[in-house]
């Protein structure tokens, strides 16, 4: 039987591991030279035959089906194979790249392209985990990108993008309600209003439990509206003034908690769970980052046809989501080709269709030719989608350190029961 004497003694293992880690530590970071997007025909040549592992949050079937389509088009046109790696959380992939770097794997990494923004981008940029120098603004389709009127394309959560990630779509915080249950006249027009509304409709509002992305976004929206001086949010958190700046936010949450769904003793997992809860009749006001979310859900029978959208006249948070290439990606040329294809008017128009995904474009209509503009004009945004002119002002995202800090504070105050 299993004889302990023939087992592997732990000691050599320890020493070997320490040795390995020590070697890796000394090896340090090394940036492999990659393809140059300025020489596009060369990129296309070396991309042919590559397999691109695209790590993307895989919680939405719409998005998965869209990526599937992009992959088949890319294979047909450029001979690049796309494999979507569906993530339950984007940090899984970031953690994997971090582990690869820790193990000294500076080439042939497991991620070629990653769907990313905000906190994760800031962290990857700070750790030098991104393919550099900046490549995004050298892509052929960059010429259509609307970076002039959409400042979030060059500044991701206050962090300069520097071409280290390529814009994919726009996001704007939008609220949804069911007009069969809720009279549009009673809808809240600000975070303060929302608190009053929740008091009158106890148990019918909630937000996803931070650090879920949408839950943290709700906290940031309230923070932006209530902070005495919102401009400090554009700079990193200052521990000395944090308490003062965040005080109105936590006073607000304290007041809101008793009127939340389940009295704030449990929170929905994410915005998709809130969508289900709205369909179940448990929640009356929900929110998402995609203005076409409700129209798409109605189309697919997930929400009743009477659901409509609204935003706050004073503005709601807006940002851009991107794709980035890790510094150790194995198929950088293929990843560049995919990033460029995702920017093409054809792919962007398809993405904006609520029947497909409904994600707003990053392109400027004025920069497109008549044929491409017609693609966008032909899209039916759906009954529940507000027109771009009705979306209200865009509030800029705070510096990523705020998100981290209020998430930590939230957990301390509400995250451990009592």
């Amino acid at each position: 039987m299993l004889n302990p004497a023939s087992g592997i003694p732990a000691e050599p293992f320890v020493r070997r591991l320490i040795l390995l880690l020590a070697v890796l530590f000394l090896a340090g970071p090394a940036h492999a030279a990659g393809p140059d997007p300025a020489n596009w025909s060369e990129v296309l040549t070396s991309a042919r035959g590559e397999t691109v592992y695209f790590d993307a949050w895989g919680g939405s079937q719409n998005v998965n089906a869209y990526i599937e389509w992009a992959g088949s088009e890319l294979f047909k046109r450029y001979g690049v194979k796309i494999v979507e790696v569906k993530l339950a959380d984007t940090t899984d992939a970031v953690a994997r790249i971090v582990a690869e770097k820790a193990a000294g794997k500076d080439k042939g990494g497991s991620v070629d392209l990653i769907w990313i923004n905000g906190e994760n981008f800031a962290s990857m940029k700070r750790r030098r985990l991104l393919f550099s120098p900046g490549w995004a603004e050298k892509l052929p389709n960059w010429k259509y990108v609307d970076f002039e009127t959409k400042p979030t394309i060059r500044t991701d959560f206050t962090i300069p993008v520097d071409g280290l990630e390529s814009p994919w779509g726009m996001a704007k915080l939008v609220f949804f309600y069911d007009q069969a249950r809720t009279d549009p006249a009673t809808l809240p027009k600000s975070a303060k209003d929302l608190l009053a509304w929740a008091r009158e409709h106890p148990g019918r509002f909630s937000y996803p439990q931070p650090p879920d992305f949408m839950g943290s976004t709700f906290l940031k929206q309230v923070l932006c509206e209530l902070a005495p001086d919102p401009s400090v949010l554009q700079k990193p958190v200052n521990e000395i003034t944090f308490g003062e700046v965040a005080a109105p936010l936590f006073a607000y949450l304290d007041a809101l908690k008793p009127y939340l769904w389940r009295h704030g003793e449990a929170y929905p997992k994410n915005y998709l769970a809130m969508k289900q809860l709205m369909a179940d009749g448990e929640l009356d006001i929900i929110f998402a980052f995609n203005p076409a979310e409700a129209s798409g859900a109605i189309e697919q029978g997930q929400l009743p046809a009477t659901v409509r959208s609204f935003t706050f006249p004073g503005g709601t948070l807006a940002n851009t989501h991107f794709v980035a290439i890790p510094y150790n990606a194995a198929a950088k040329a293929g990843a560049l080709v995919l990033a460029d294809f995702l920017l093409s008017p054809e792919a962007q128009a398809r993405k904006q269709d609520p029947k497909v995904w409904g994600d707003p474009t990053v392109l400027a209509m004025s920069k497109l030719d008549a044929k491409d503009r017609a693609r966008f004009d032909a899209i039916d945004l759906g009954v529940a989608t507000l027109k771009p002119s009705e979306l209200g002002p865009a509030l800029p995202e705070p510096h990523p350190s705020w998100m981290e800090r209020i998430e930590r504070e939230w957990k301390k105050r509400y995250g451990v029961g009592n």
Partner: protein, 560 residues
Amino acid sequence: MIARLGPPLAVLLLAGPVLCGLVGTVLPAFGYLPALGGTRFTLAPMRDLLAEPGLIRSALTSLAVALVTAAAVLMVVVLFVAGWSGTRIFGRILHLVSPLLSVPHAAAAFGLAFLIAPSGMIARLLSPWLTGWQRPPDLLIVNDPLALSMTAGLIVKEIPFLLLITLAALPQVKLAETRALAASLGYGRIAGFLFGVWPRLYRQIRLAVFAVIAFSSSVVDVAQILGPTLPPPLAVRIVGWANDPDLARHFLAAAGALLQLGVTALALIVWLFFEGLAGVVTRRLGQSGRRWRGDAVLRRSGLAAMVATAAAVGAGLALLSIWSVAGLWQFPETLPHSFTASAWIRTIPQIARPLGITLACGLLSTLLAIAVTLLCLTRELQTGRPAGRWALTLLYLPLIVPEAAFLFGLQIFFLAARAEPGLPNLVLAHFVFVMPYVFLALSGPWRAFDRRHEAIAAGLGKSRRTILFSIRLPMLLGPILTAAAVGFAVSVGQYLATVMIGAGRLPTITTEAVALAAGGNRRVIGVYALLQMLLPAVGFAVAIIVPALLFRRRRAMRAG
């Protein structure tokens, strides 16, 4: 003799990865990980861990869930087997319950959630005619702070596991004879079983009970779906820390993993204490001479609990399958407003690759586990020495060490060894989890095999090899196939190992399902839950049907 290779091979393949992983976990728990700048041993990670808000509560939740789950599962299985084995109802219920073993934990949990939630099926069936609810009530049932839903979810999933392990051991304890003897002495069914059969039977399923405790104390997926969230059980928090892009949190995760190890160990120690207590009580009761004939209520409640288990999981899955084709389905409608195949149409094209990887990895790791297990057991037969305590500890290490922790260490190790993420790594990682279950399922029946069969064969001049291949292995075909089916189901259900070691590049049905579950779309969850169930179900069907066919003319070979 090739069997000689068995034990060292098992130690290498099993303890190797776990030890590498543990080293990768324990050292950082005390601040030592040069690659991340930790070059000195320090207690800082432990201090950080203790400073985490709600830590004690998370740990206590894990502990309580584990003990309550194990106690409830064991009680139901004992009452049911004691009260009903050998009856016709027993066989019928068995056919109902055994397929449930193959149901992935996540799928069962989702099904249960939709059954018991305020907007769930039970509330829908009673509304509005009885309850007056036009809209779901604002009640905290799923994710409750006491983890009752989570415990219920674990109980209904672990009952089939323990029942099957018990059944595999049952033919070795002379149930019918003992039962006849106890009955002739005037004992009630349950008392006769408890005094006559149980002590021997429990010895054989004891490690399975420990596995239930260890699993329940460190489960992640069920906890995420049904468990409390403010704060979540310990294992869920460890995974959160381990996935944090902030590398400094890995020290915290490692410290948390050490605590998890302690919590699991404490749960086992508490269990051992109650085990001893229960033994004393049983002996006292036996010595009292009372016959306990009036056990009809107990017997019926055992049956009722078993039926309720099957019904809860079955109904949950039936509901999920309806969801997979549902259009709009609002409260309090008991059936969807409309039906659509769109969830299936969107899913099917994406399934070929994950399906292939699931099958390949499951079959390879199971085959490897069966082969190594048989080699070890054969070697044990040849030397006549049963496994030592240390060997057993090594063997069951993967069931007790929180997987998230040692997997992270193992991931670092594979990367450091420049081993590309690929099927071999994944098979090896799955093997670590498959092997103990296979060994657990097989070693009991193997050791309890009546050696007089072999003695007779030897007396007739047969060689050791012939005895092994024509007497022992064929007679143990049932347990071997059951063990293989358990192993395959374990492999199919692996989530963390697949994601971490496969570097996300080797998707299986389960990783796809969990990734999609993040979206909470019941239609898609329904599709994947059905697909996920199908694979292990085939394995168990084989384990049940093949021996039944082969031994249909041999009455003594039929179990139960």
